[in-house]
């Protein structure tokens, strides 16, 4: 770093009135629907035994009863994506007054350094929270998580849970039969998802909601208001729905649909701004009975120091560590997390593309 004019002028010639350190929080709406679980294992295993809706058939008295069996199930094992974010506090950093720090070494400045490290932890962990939000978005949108190396975790959502009517009856066309499309999705949730709920949450972008408001269905039939909406009844797991707004509700057939507006974005590795959810699609889920999990696998860590240091596996949403790098004269701080979004009730999620 070259010597700047400002450094030459020294402290007596200038005063910082205020500092504004922008902290951009991660959206939590989609991931708030996923219940967090934690384990020390590298692999997350879960078993699913689906049921059916057979009814009892009457038989003649005296004959052998109808024999029932419970034989089938599926076992699934997933290795969660692993996130490890680091930053350094170097000895050389002491030479550089970086952001609002005084050159004087005292208790206040040491406190500032500690809070600065805490701030950096929160900032890098927000990157992981965004990755979790993206996982939740991918699961809800098409059921496929794509890792950075191109490999995938595919929850095998059925084709009829991912319909595309953007060509045949887009919502940008006023006469498109919106009710028929939504009822088709509700029918899927009822017959394939085996969920008899009559209230549903729809997650849609501004673009989709604006298109909906332009349809004949909306004009003539949808009761689009937020009156008498009781948030307690929504059935979402507790969480802060940062990133979404309850726009309203409408009736379709004998069902009530609540609409959540969601337009959140993130910056991808190439520096481009990308929406978490495809803004031409909506997602529909029943308000009750859906089971989504954000399962966290264990991450490698080291406990103790010096000769007592011991590699271990730890569980948690974030596992923090710091250690000295003597070659770089740096203290390295890192945080690890291994979350994976799992749609346990995979057939209770429907996505439909309604705009080109």
């Amino acid at each position: 770093m070259s010597i700047t004019q400002e450094q030459l002028r020294g402290l007596v010639t200038k005063t910082y009135l205020k500092k504004y350190d922008e902290i951009v929080g991660a959206p939590s709406f989609l991931q708030s629907m996923f219940v967090k679980t934690f384990s020390v294992a590298k692999e997350i295993h879960f078993e699913v035994r689906r049921g059916n809706e057979t009814i009892s058939v009457d038989i003649s008295r005296g004959v052998e009863g109808t024999r029932n069996t419970f034989s089938k199930s599926s076992e699934k094992a997933i290795i969660p994506p692993y996130y490890n974010e680091t930053f350094e506090s170097t000895a050389l950093e002491g030479y550089n007054r970086v952001f609002g720090e005084s050159a004087e070494v005292n208790g206040t400045n040491m406190g500032n350094l500690a809070s600065n490290i805490a701030y950096k932890y929160l900032t890098v962990e927000d990157k992981v929270r965004r990755a979790r939000e993206l996982q939740a978005a991918n699961v809800l949108e098409d059921g496929i998580l794509t890792l950075s190396d191109g490999t995938i975790i595919d929850y095998k959502r059925k084709a009829n849970s991912k319909r595309d009517t953007s060509g045949s009856a887009p919502w940008s066309t006023a006469a498109s039969d919106v009710a028929a499309q939504i009822l088709q999705d509700i029918e899927f949730i009822r017959t394939e998802g085996k969920n008899g709920a009559k209230t549903f949450n729809m997650i849609a972008s501004t673009k989709v909601i604006l298109a909906l408001q332009g349809t004949t269905f909306f004009t003539n039939k949808a009761n689009f208001n937020t009156d008498n909406v009781n948030l307690v009844d929504f059935g979402f797991p507790n969480g802060t729905p940062y990133g979404a707004t309850l726009v309203g509700k409408f009736v379709v057939g004998t069902n009530i649909v609540f609409i959540w507006g969601y337009d959140e974005t993130y910056t991808n590795a190439a520096g481009a701004t990308v929406k978490y959810l495809d803004e031409t699609k909506y997602i529909l889920m029943p308000t009750t009975g859906v089971r989504l999990e954000m399962a966290h696998g264990g991450v490698p860590a080291v406990t103790g120091s010096g000769d007592n240091a011991m590699p271990v596996i730890k569980k948690g949403e974030f596992v923090r560590m710091d250690y000295m790098d003597f070659r770089k004269k740096a203290r390295v701080f890192e945080t690890s997390s291994a979350p994976v979004a799992i749609p346990v009730t995979v057939d209770m999620i429907v996505t439909r593309k309604v705009l080109v």
């Binding site: 699913v48 689906r50 089938k72 599926s74 890792l147 095998k156």
Partner: protein, 147 residues
Amino acid sequence: MPQTVKVSNSNQIFVDNDISQLLLGNNRFIKGDVTASGADVEMVEGLVVSRIGATGKLKPFVATVVDGTEYIVGVAIRTISVLDGTTVSVDLVNGGRIPESKINFLGAETLATLAGVTGSQRMVKDILEDLGLDLLGGVELTEVDNS
């Protein structure tokens, strides 16, 4: 326990399980040799098996063949691969309770297929019951997940 791997890659594995049982009680068994000649023979659990009259060897039942395999003698109780050119001793169940849903055939035959000597053919289901097998129906109340 039959397990079917449906998805397997570096990040996930999905396996379908089926713990249904073939032998449900009061069963009776016979043993016999299967010789694979010309190709491997898969003796799948639940496979309907016949005996070749001339050699006494066992063979999967095929309705259209008339080398003696029209005479059904039992049902295979375990899945065994008999490699070409080898002879393996296998166990068959020919009495007691077994579920009808576990019965299977080498080809397109069904329990309603006619078997036996032309002119006195009977349905496979009736032949199995005459052997002493009690074919039980049932309703499966579980299913595998998407995979």
